[in-house]
Symmetry: D2
Subunit: 347 residues, 4 copies
């Protein structure tokens, strides 16, 4: 009998009951459209409290929309955005940033642990050809927190990047598809991980952590707001019944739901990584600091695990990604570890 | 005491309980992301049944996204799209079509009853300069059904437009933000009002008729599908938890919910129009064939009605728009009519 | 024997010998590329003298490039540009402005004599929905001087438009494809017709008036320069051997060549119009204030004139455009007038 | 006394007298505009002869325009174009390809000798995620011949790339800014180096080899023509007096002028490289196969050479680029070699 244990992605998961319940609560009589309703107003207040500063929150449908449209306000069409070569905005959004920006480029950098590195960024900016009109102009830097490989920037690393950005007149953006997971790991406040480091705008993820179908752009730099509002409207990202997005996002942070959910997913990933560390001949290729585990195993093991009913994403012949979710369970971790153990022993 | 009767728009309304319930039902264990789940598969089957032909359905966040991204597959970037000068794609989407298409133009036509007219379209195409490289190239025609002013195309009118489109190698698009309202009025089938007339793609509205936060592009012409899929992904319109959009749309058409809701809204609008017809010195400026009433009254009356707590959208100093909703009531109609009557008598 | 008298357009004409000669003079030893050469430096000085203020001049290949790229710096991608419905940027540039701007719209206005009218502009701006995010945002106004129908704005008309633009925070652009013809008619200075009226940027035409293959954007508002420079480079409009464009433009204004040429073309057009006024049953439909004559004659006359070898552009079954050029002759005017006279007498 | 020997770039050079003369010859009476003239017709015939197949030639203002607009017809807006990481379209065109394509990406590859390598391309295409909607879609490959570092693809290398392109449904583009230099080196025919290898479109350079201000897109695949024509018009690249571009390009190939000029420049570069090879402690970092020499020397030598009046482009603290031109001389080579020799001896 097949296991049906699903580690494919955090976006295969269920929606937290609190969020569904919030939709029902928001379904009262008529309410003003396009974000002029009480829920959206409350969302801005709630997030301003959460971030300990006045922020403006724009709910959007997807993380790609959040990233690409936020970035389009941070660069001229002839600009370039510095990011890691593993960045989701580069690898997995079908050119959304190039499209929404009107043709801006991404300048790809390396960096250990799948994290940008302030020194490398500094050097890249220095050689990027500012004011040389043959070159795309340095405009912004984008980091992913937690990263695409489940690692987490330390605050001093982000601060160093923020310092380069500030000194080099770059706007600073964070792809926070797994913002909560990083926050749970670092144990700092949202303010500490964002505007206090110089961040201009944050793609605030919810979907991967028990959300349903709304993410948000959180803007820390007021002068960006007006431009962004118009860009979102013409990008088809301004819901008329905005309250049903706002309500989701309010519920997501209420009583620290987002943190509690992220902690749970992170804990499962840590258990998974610790278990795998005890099995010979398998390698976890990146430090597990959020809810993702990248596992190097022989191709035959991958085939066998798939045949046993385990679901995961295959990244190369001998590399798989395992993502833990708030609605996952320790039992699933045990089942998987046991299966890997079993297979490796037979080798 | 203020009335709080809300005629501002159909998108201020509540969500039909069936749709909220469907979200809960869809919230089971993990499901494949990005539309490879069972709900999205079922959505395609369900709509193929509804439209009596194989269609492909792409859920999107908003009507603007549906219109602009659908149109971007129907025109080259140097094309032009024929539409009515009152078309939502021209007046109220902040240039979304120009943006998503990469710079295509809209060629604005008149037409009685806020409807395009096949003869005028034919002439406009003839003088549009096909193959003349100084001119944007004729590429598509877009109609809104029901129109922005609450009128409804008759099937023979649409057929005539479809015939011009076919003869002139124009793609044919329908903005169906109020598709159900038009269908309820005409009493025809979805097939009769779409692909049987030569339609290539439909923006299928739900939000204005008891939906929550998902609309759809329905594609009738298979060769458009691949291009559209990639465009949607990079436009940030491909939800990872797609099932929660698919489930809404399935519930929306289940047991003809969409038609029943539209009929109710249309009926209220008709009652409103009939009542207004009996009041002297006020004019309903367009035939009420769906759920919208455009009322010409003295500016003082408008101010007074607003002060009395009636909510509506003011279109010019002496013109207001009143939109009826499935979650409106006959009592509201009575209250409004009585108020207008009262004011006009005092004049 | 056929006449081969060519009134098709001013761009069918020859290049002034002074301009070709300037190319030879510029063909000395090596010179810095991309506009850092002495000719381009001199161009800026020469035009700053001509316009009695410091201007920055960007040579470009075509008038469409000048218009569309200049306008792209004057509007956000979600903006709208007010222009006459007969404007070349709308009718004859294949959507270039929509493209280069990233999707901005053109808002078309009427206006007698094919000229915008400050009052109508004022009203259009007022109803354009500033800060309403469903609407393209009012950003700029573009006038064509001389207009597409050979009429010329008076200075007070332009000043009134400039006043509306200033008061409404619109940028102000002039399509000066026939700038010299208008200047010759008004007898004012370039400064009087441009920045003194609040103009931000001018598309400075040369090709239609004896030029070869370079036009220019003349920028009066310094803050636009940096953005424009980058936009031009990535638009493929920054010649490496820029001196051969600069040399053309310098020669074009040297010793008032541009004005002398324009006066000659205008004079021919006036003679043509005066002659036509004496012929019964033909109508010149717009005041002839530059070098274009729009003539309404019976379709049969048009066919006959074409058969006789006269070349012109046919605008509708009974309307032709006749354009006079610096390299045209009075003899050609006489031939054409005699032919029309002959045909109309036979009727 | 300073030497004023200029190796900065081939685009600092003079225009071949034959080309200037052709402009004068083309300056006869009126001629049809926008490329419907005899010169442009002849250009197409002449190039069809040159390439031994029917080609369509579109003159454009710059190499960037040629590259970016040609590529925009070879990729959908959500596509990716494979090119070398040193490719001019990536490093030096300010994002023109991203802009004109509507947001397509460039996928950067390595490759010895600054040349793409068929095997690496093959692998990159294989892992590019065709039909995966999160990924930009593989659409085209672009090679530069001669390369940005003065090396030249051998015909079998290009054929292997063409084979991958064909097998993988990629369009094949060549940036031929130094097409003639490569042709001169290989001694093959234009046909051998282009369509016989599967090329769809060629950016045909002239400016760097004695041209003035016109380059061309040469199209081998007829189905691209219509789309390209419209794109060029709206990109402001369709000159009204097209004959003055056509005449330049005709003169450029007449009597093999382009080949003779390229041979001369190549010969000078070879002499330079050979001379440098005899000087100790300086290194030519790439094989000199066209007209460019990349020289690694101590920074102090660079400063001294500059102070002596030699002009070149500095690429890094110890790397300079020296470009030889048709209007350069052996005397200049001798002067430079002597200077380097002198400096190195003093060390």
């Amino acid at each position: 009998m097949r296991a049906r244990v699903d580690f494919r992605s955090d976006n295969v998961g269920a929606v937290s009951p609190e969020i569904l319940k919030a939709l029902e609560s928001a379904n009262t009589g008529p309410a003003a459209a396009y974000g002029e309703d009480d829920w959206t107003r409350h969302l801005n207040e709630r997030f301003s409290g959460l971030f300990e500063t006045t922020v403006t929150v724009f709910p959007v449908a997807t993380g790609t929309a959040a990233n690409a449209i936020a970035l389009s306000t941070l660069t001229p069409p002839y600009g370039t955005i510095f990011c890691h070569e593993a960045a989701h905005v580069h690898t997995s959004e079908a050119g959304a940033t190039e499209f929404f920006s009107g043709g801006a480029k991404l300048t790809l950098l390396g960096g250990a642990g799948y994290r940008l590195n302030a020194a490398e960024l500094d050097q890249a900016v220095a050689s990027s050809g500012r004011d040389q009109w043959h070159r795309a102009q340095p405009a912004a830097v984008s980091v992913t927190q937690a990263t695409e490989f489940g690692t987490v920037y330390r605050l001093n690393e982000l601060a160093a990047i923020g310092e380069v950005a500030h000194r080099s007149s770059l706007r600073f953006h964070m792809d926070g598809a797994r913002f909560a997971n990083a926050l749970a790991t670092l144990g700092c406040t949202p303010a500490d991980m964002t505007w206090r480091l110089g961040l201009d705008a944050l793609s605030f993820g919810a979907t991967k952590n028990g959300g349903m179908n709304a993410e948000a752009i959180v803007v820390f730099t007021p002068e960006l707001i007006k431009d962004l509002r118009h860009r979102l409207r013409r990008s088809g990202q301004t819901w008329s019944k905005m309250r049903f997005a706002a309500a989701q996002l309010i519920a997501y942070v209420e009583d620290d739901l987002f943190l509690r959910s992220a902690r749970q997913a992170n804990t499962l990933a840590t258990q998974l990584a610790e278990g795998l560390a005890r099995i010979p001949h398998v390698t976890v290729i990146a430090p597990v600091e959020a809810n993702e585990v990248f596992l190097q195993v022989p191709p035959r093991a991958i085939d066998w695990l798939a045949a046993e009913g385990f679901l995961f994403s295959r990244r190369s012949p001998d590399l798989i990604r395992l993502v833990c979710r708030v609605d996952g369970s320790e039992e699933e971790i045990r089942l998987f570890l046991a299966a890997v153990q079993r297979f490796m022993e037979r080798l």
